[in-house]
Amino acid sequence: MKYKETAVIKEQRELATGIYSMWLQAERIAGEAVPGQFLSVYSRDESRMLPRPISICEINREQGALRLVYRIAGKGTLEFSQYGPGDSLELVGPLGNGFPLDKGYGKVFLIGGGIGIPPMVELAAQLPGEKQIVAGYRNHELFLKEELERNGSVYIATEDGSAGTRGNVLDAIRKNGLKAEAIFACGPTPMLRALKAYAAEHGMDCYLSLEERMACGVGACLGCVCRSMDVDSHTYVKNKRICKDGPVFAAEDIEL
């Protein structure tokens, strides 16, 4: 089920420059959400009609709470960052399919690049098996590192070399000589493309969370498609909807 829910902000704080963390009270959505799903978050400013898709970072089902971690990318996320405890936000969710949790892998990579790191937190908590979490940051502001360390061994890459391996997530994997059966990843498209190639080369399974501009967020408008290998369930033209058929896809199923 998807819900339209008015959520109350329980906590909001800046984790790193321009990166905010928000805990929201949203019982119905929290009751059903799974790792890798996302929410449509709405601006209160009426000039901004479209929802902002934001991945679920953590789920506290007992408390009916969800955590979102987001980067100020424009006016919508700037607006969200200005709210505080007690303020409310309109949400629709949980949306999309989430990562597969039942493949039975022994040893996996969870790979997050930049603002693709947040969904790895809940995934690490729920995915069975041995988790090697590789997180690529811009600099030494290693947001969510502690949360990641709760459920796996964490390897860091930074663009400026200020922490962990200088370079990208694949540099960190190589430098640390890491191996795994499968990849679960979220991050910028160039990173996902590189991971898809790496997985193919190493015969690994690979699940990627994609992004595209969205309007409806629920599969109705056909705005957010990606090219897919198989025919899609809507139009049968190999155009899968990221909001509905994704955002997580098996790498070999989509063009990147």
Binding site: K2, M49, L50, E212, V218, G223, T235
Partner: protein
């Protein structure tokens, strides 16, 4: 308490098809209803209008297909659709589960494309056909038919020959005179007019120095265009005697009432679905609330009832 009058007062009639209330969904913003049926019972609506369907599947345009603008959005979906076969097999049976009218939006590249789809639908349980001759996002067909009165009249006439259900011609706002276009559709035999489709627009990403949409241009929709839409509905209502379905930026009952007062018999809710998945239902509720507030016995008393008080 809702009295008996109120209960029946929201019915409207479009070319012989009775709608329980004047609220419809705008083509392309509501799929074939499945996605939004997760949020409310579609029986709350006067009609569901489907995404445009062609004779064969269309893959649509490359992404990005969507861009946000001030109080609106641009889309360049490019009429991605599964074609009439899948549509008949899957979408019509789905919609028949609900107590609402079914309007199929038809797109095509040539007049014979339109006629083929219309014929395929002739034995289907579909209440109305809406012919989209105004999509700005496809090269051939689409808007080309919607910008020349002679072409519009001709496509209307041909479609009417093949159609078993009443035909709604959906007009483009990207024209010098909407009145002239409305008259052309009427002359071609249209049963109903719907307007407006989107205004052609463009957004540029100044940091990438690139078009925000892969298609370069897209269709502008949402509250931003409402004043243009209300004006065009008013002008069309002055120009012809056909019933009109008004749309463009409707978000709530008040917006819908502007269109009805301007001369629309029914209204469609489009982009607002994206801002709130329950919009269309709430528009219907808002109209009812207004009728109760002002003790309007039947919605017909409001259609075209705008006047001057200055």
């Amino acid at each position: 308490m809702v009295n008996k009058h109120m209960k029946y007062g929201t019915c409207v009639n479009l070319a012989g098809v009775e709608l329980k209330n004047p609220v419809m969904t705008a083509s392309g913003t509501f799929g074939s209803g499945a996605e939004y049926s997760e949020f409310y019972d579609l029986s709350a609506l006067g009609a569901v209008v489907t995404k445009g369907v062609a004779n064969v599947p269309w893959p649509g345009n490359p992404t990005p297909r969507i861009a946000e603008t001030a109080s609106g959005m641009l889309n360049a979906i490019g009429l991605q659709n599964p074609g009439i076969d899948v549509f008949i097999e899957r979408d019509i049976p789905f919609l028949r589960q609900f107590d609402t009218r079914i309007v199929v939006n038809v797109c095509g590249r040539t007049i014979s494309d339109y006629c083929e789809v219309v014929e395929r639908l002739s034995d289907q349980p579909v209440d109305l056909l809406e012919i989209n001759v105004s999509c700005p996002n496809v090269k051939e067909g689409g808007i080309a038919f919607g910008q020349k009165p002679e072409a519009l009249e001709e496509v209307t006439r041909q479609v009417k020959k093949h159609a078993k259900q009443p035909v709604i011609m959906k007009l483009s706002p990207n024209v010098t005179s909407i009145g002239e276009m409305a008259r052309a559709a009427e002359a071609g035999g249209a049963d109903v007019l719907s307007l407006i489709n989107t205004l052609t627009g463009m957004k540029i990403d100044i940091h990438k120095r690139a078009f925000a949409l892969a298609n370069r241009t897209g269709g502008l929709s949402g509250p931003a265009i409402k004043p243009v839409a209300v004006r065009m509905v008013y002008e069309a209502a002055q120009a012809v005697s056909l019933p009109i379905i008004g749309m463009g930026g409707i978000q709530n009952g008040e917006d819908a009432l502007e269109f009805i007062l301007a001369g629309a018999t029914a209204v469609s809710v489009g982009t607002a679905n994206f801002a709130n998945p329950c919009s269309a239902k709430e528009v219907a509720e808002g109209i009812r609330a207004y009728m109760e507030q002002y003790q309007v016995e039947k919605i017909q008393d409001l259609i075209g009832a705008v006047g001057s008080v200055y």
